[in-house]
């Protein structure tokens, strides 16, 4: 939906034409900006963008009849390599599988390939495979005439291994999570007699199998214009389990929630283009299907009242989305305009679960939600080289998210236990308008200055603030001392404010009036970045950066009040010879945040600080062509350390416990050429990992009387992967 918006705040601004433009209703604004942009490009038609485009080549003197290219030696026929890997993988802690690509313990095998067939006609076929046999394996077959048409068939596996050593008394049975048949409930976790004896291992990992089939066809409409049409279909299966919780009243259990779902997606695009212009349409259809309809779980606790032995949670509903967009870009003489308009729709009509499974469920106002969200987006961008030294960019982004779902009264049976009247679903709409203007001026051939202004206006519905606006200014100075050495400094200031903060009243739990929700609150942000790098042709490159961000939530008494970030990094690479290179890097950052709260539902009376620190350090060496060009060696080491210290002050200081992760990684390899077409590679991957989290450190399943947890789920392992790969070079 597009509406004419005239927020009062706009009229209070007096920033000239920019604000006047933004005052116009959205489609008209875009149209006006389009006209303005075309006008700019029409007026500023001096040629300031001389490049070396092949279309502009002066071919008057070319005598291509005698260009036989006798010495051109394009490679034709088959070439490439195929490999087979046999490895020992330590899968005792599955988290190591994120490094190796498999969580299997013991011997594992995989194959790989990078083969291509090149015909004299230009026809090209390529087969690439990597770690095929591991959960993170991939394969891709591409065939066709590059630049003319191509078909692609692919597979890609993804895996996220979290825990394989945690335990819980729950068994998964399709949509149900049940306790042993002889389970005896308890009022607290400590009074569940069969808890310890019922614990079974749970695996928290999610794997994805992604298949795709696609291709494109490109051709010429005329000597100066062309087209390209492409389509891609992707099917993805996801399976595994993730950590979640469910509760009845104030009694909670942690569960390994089963995941089995799939997503299908089709992308289709057709674009036309010529010298200096492009236009096209792209579209996307996506459908998500969940194999689970609900999460029915058995309570481990003695019912507080009634017979609430089971609870039922909703799972992600099946849903669909489509999108279609059109865009065009064009220009000349260094001026370019890009226009884009798109509409998206997200919908779902999954049948509702009953309001409760304990006793008769109240009648629902509808059998399914028939939820609909429409998104309209429009973009207009101008970039132009006004003079040889001055370039200007302006852009206007508009996005309108409208939730068109019906608003109905839904009976609330809280945690399948007690009726708490009816509540109406909220429809969160969001309309954003973003305007950017920036200019870049080349001071000398080796230095330029850049400055810009941005304004982002967001209008919300049903939130504590009706509108949030952010204005920003930035300046950047870049200097290249020599072809090898450069440095730049950028500073940016952003000021976020908005309409009067007015906490929503349509809730049974109104917010503290002094609270300013962090994502809606006034905020002053200062950002500074300094970067320098040196790259020589003697093989040495050095880079260093410094980043700083300060957020001051200056009108917040309760909530997030201050965030400070500081980080730096230094890296160096040195190509000592064609065969020997070394590298090293160091990154460190600190992220501190302060917030305040109130136990009295009034002004602040407690405060908390969180101090995060992260360090990454690493070094590597690669030595090739040893032993008469037969041996390649490589060694990489990295260490990362992240920690977070939280402290709450409420009369007394109360520091939280440990929260850290420490990881050492070694990646070493030796590749030996057995014959001209055969090589053997040995890989050693090592990971030493340890983490802690005060949320579960030193706890057991029954430490908290009303939380049946997974206990202490920290990791502490040393794991190795030893692999042998035999490669055949064609």
């Amino acid at each position: 939906m597009v509406q004419t918006i005239h927020p009062a705040s706009y009229s209070r601004d007096n920033k000239g034409m920019i604000m006047q433009i933004m005052n116009i209703s959205t489609p008209r604004a875009c149209f006006s900006l389009t006209l303005l942009a075309w006008a700019i490009s029409g007026v500023l038609n001096t040629a300031h963008a001389e490049g070396y485009e092949i279309q502009k080549a002066n071919r008057s003197g070319v005598k291509s009849d005698s260009w036989s290219c006798k010495q051109c030696q394009p490679k034709t026929g088959r070439q490439g390599n195929a490999s087979a890997t046999l490895a020992y993988n330590d899968g005792e802690d599955s988290r190591f599988g994120n490094r190796t690509g498999t969580d299997k313990d013991g011997l594992v095998g995989a194959v790989g390939a990078d083969m291509q067939y090149q015909a004299e006609s230009g026809y090209h076929t390529r087969l690439e495979a990597d770690k095929l046999g591991f959960d993170t394996g991939s394969a891709k077959l591409t065939t066709g005439q590059p630049g003319h048409y191509q078909i692609q068939l692919g597979y890609k596996g993804l895996a996220n291994y979290q825990y394989n050593q945690l335990k819980s008394p729950y068994l998964t049975d399709n949509d149900k999570m049940l306790l042993p048949e002889n389970w005896v409930e308890g009022a607290t976790t400590q009074s569940m007699p069969l808890l310890q004896s019922s614990l079974i291992e749970q695996d928290l990992s999610i794997t994805r199998d992604r298949f795709n089939l696609g291709g494109y066809y490109a051709g010429h409409i005329s000597s100066s214009s062309r087209y390209k049409a492409s389509v891609n279909y992707q099917h993805e299966n996801r399976s595994g389990a993730k950590k979640t919780s469910a509760n009845i009243l104030t009694n909670s259990v942690m569960l390994a929630h089963p995941i089995d779902d799939s997503t299908d997606e089709i992308n289709a695009r057709v674009y036309f283009g010529g010298a200096g212009w492009q236009a096209g349409i792209n579209s996307q259809i996506s459908q998500y299907k969940n194999d689970h309809q609900a999460l029915l779980w058995q309570s481990a606790y003695t019912p507080t009242f009634g017979a609430t032995y089971f609870g039922q949670n909703a799972v992600a509903p099946d849903n669909k989305a489509y999108r279609i967009a059109a865009e065009a870009s064009g220009g000349q003489n260094g001026h370019n305009i890009l226009m884009h308009a798109g509409i998206s729709n997200m919908s779902q009509d999954e049948a509702f679960l009953p309001a409760t499974i304990n006793g008769p469920s109240p009648v629902l106002p509808t059998g399914n939600l028939d939820a609909q969200v429409d998104i309209l987006d429009m973009v207009l961008k101008y970039s132009g080289r006004i003079t040889q030294d001055l370039s200007v960019q302006a852009s206007y982004n508009y996005q309108d998210r409208e939730n068109k779902t019906a608003q109905l009264d839904f009976p609330q049976v809280v945690t399948d236990s007690f009726h708490q009247g009816a509540e109406q679903n909220r429809l969160y709409d969001k309309r954003s308008k973003q305007f950017d203007l920036k200019g870049k001026y080349r001071l000398t051939p080796s230095a330029y200055a850049e400055a810009g202004y941005s304004r982002d206006e967001v209008i919300y519905s049903e939130l504590d603030r009706q509108s949030v606006d952010e204005s920003g200014l930035f300046a950047k100075l870049s200097y290249r001392y020599s072809p090898a050495w450069s440095a730049w400094l950028k500073g940016e200031t952003l000021d976020r404010n908005g309409s009067e903060y007015d906490p929503v009243t349509s809730t049974q739990s109104p917010s503290n009036p002094w609270l300013r929700k962090s994502y809606l609150a006034d905020r002053k942000r200062q950002k500074v970045t300094l970067h320098t790098d040196y790259q020589s042709d003697i093989g040495l490159s050095v880079g260093a950066s410094l980043h700083s961000i300060d957020d001051d939530y200056d009108h917040t008494l309760v909530g997030l009040t201050q965030v400070s970030y500081l980080g730096y990094d230094v890296s160096a690479q040195y190509l000592i010879s064609d065969n020997l290179s070394v590298n090293a890097y160091l990154n460190q950052d600190w992220h501190d945040s302060d917030q305040a709260g109130s136990n009295r539902f009034s002004t602040p009376d407690w405060y908390s600080t969180s101090e995060e620190k992260s360090t990454l350090i690493g070094a590597g060496i690669a030595y090739q062509n040893l032993l008469d060009n037969r041996l390649d060696l490589g060694l990489d080491y990295s260490y990362s350390d992240g920690q977070s210290d939280t402290e709450v002050t409420y009369g007394i200081n109360s520091p939280y416990g440990d929260y850290y992760s420490r990881k050492h990684n070694i990646n070493a390899y030796a590749k030996y050429k057995l014959a001209d077409s055969m090589s053997l590679r040995f890989d050693w991957l090592f990971e030493k990992y340890q983490d802690a989290n005060w949320q579960n450190q030193n706890t057991t399943w029954d430490t908290v009387p009303n939380v049946l947890s997974f206990g202490d789920i920290s990791h502490d392992y040393n794991a190795h992967y030893l692999g042998l790969t035999l490669s055949y070079q064609m």
Binding site: Y52, R59, L338, L364, P411, T532, K613, W694
Partner: protein, 319 residues
């Protein structure tokens, strides 16, 4: 140490580093000793005059055949005259390096060269590549972050090879993080998207050639980008969680965090940045307590459907 003091000391170290490397210098081509503007003026003149060689690539290879790097152009599509629209099917070497002019008389007359060391401005270098690669994936190239930062295409891509190294996922992340160092640090943290070992690559979410939003995301907004892989969170659900609907980045840093689940802060404090109604959400929770607010899944022990719920009784995101 206070962050202000850290800032000062780190800045001093960086300035010292910058000064120390000023003394280094380089030479790569015979015309490196000429002022860059003089080189560019010569190239402009040569391009306008269009004095191409008599025999195309054969002329160039009379001298450059000994270079393995030069000859590697024939390993890939750019050097295959049989591939339609390839440079070798048109003006051959001079399609990219410009007209020969008098370069073959001693080799000192400049040709168009590529890379960060080249005296040719990035915008002019890239105009060569964009002559052919002006397709729908690069429709927003002009004015995008990399264009604006004067990054030549050759900073990331190579054409004198059988296969552009950046097309290998193991190389892509390494190349991007040479400049995007904050993201390099983030992806090594306790929780992150699986970039460190290249299950994912940067271009799964970003279009490095420019897009229609600030961070060069492939979709129009942060949330739509996330839904590409997390369609289960797309909904729309009956009970939405407002900051989730607004922007996934309100709570998550997709590049990585020292906190679990890529959260920008830890619960219960994260939740208390927005929730302070009278009762349990307002209370101070001490660190030495093990209770339902600080243990297990913290606030999510009861409000587990933090990404929204489609249960009729799920207003409190408990079902």
């Amino acid at each position: 140490m206070d962050i202000g003091l850290k800032f000062k000391s780190i800045t001093q170290v960086m300035l010292a580093l910058m000064l120390s490397i000023l003394s280094l210098s380089t030479l790569a081509t015979p015309w490196d000793d000429k002022p860059p503007e003089e080189v560019v003026a010569t190239l402009d003149k040569k391009f306008a005059e269009g004095k191409y060689s008599a025999k195309g690539a054969d002329t160039c290879l009379m001298c450059h055949k000994k270079s393995a790097t030069v000859m590697a152009i024939f390993d890939g599509v750019h050097g295959n005259p049989n591939v339609k629209d390839s440079p070798m099917a048109d003006l051959q070497c001079e399609a990219c390096h410009g007209p020969l002019g008098n370069h073959n008389k001693g080799g000192k007359e400049p040709m168009i060269t590529f890379g960060q060391h080249s005296p040719v401005p990035a915008q002019k270098q890239n105009s060569v590549c964009m002559s052919c690669h002006n397709d729908d994936q690069r429709i927003a190239w002009k004015g995008n972050h990399h264009d604006n930062a004067d990054i030549p295409c050759s900073s990331c891509h190579q054409v004198h090879v059988a296969k552009d190294p950046i097309s290998d996922k193991a190389n892509e992340v390494a190349i991007c993080t040479q400049c995007h160092t904050q993201q390099k640090a983030d992806m090594h943290k306790r929780s992150s998207h699986p970039l460190q070992w290249q299950q994912m690559v940067c271009s799964d979410c970003h279009n490095p050639h420019g897009s229609l939003n600030d961070a060069s995301l492939k979709q129009m907004s942060v949330n739509e980008n996330c839904y590409s892989c997390h369609a289960e969170k797309r909904g729309p659900k009956l009970w939405e969680h407002a900051p989730v609907t607004d922007n996934c980045a309100n709570c998550h840093n997709p590049h990585g965090s020292v906190n679990e689940s890529m959260l920008i802060s830890k619960p219960p404090q994260l939740c208390q940045q927005c929730h302070a109604s009278d009762g349990h959400s307002s209370n101070a929770y001490f660190g030495n307590q093990t209770n339902a607010f600080t243990s297990g899944n913290s606030c999510m022990n009861c409000h587990g459907q933090v990404h929204g719920s489609n249960h009729p009784s799920g207003k409190l995101l408990q079902r």
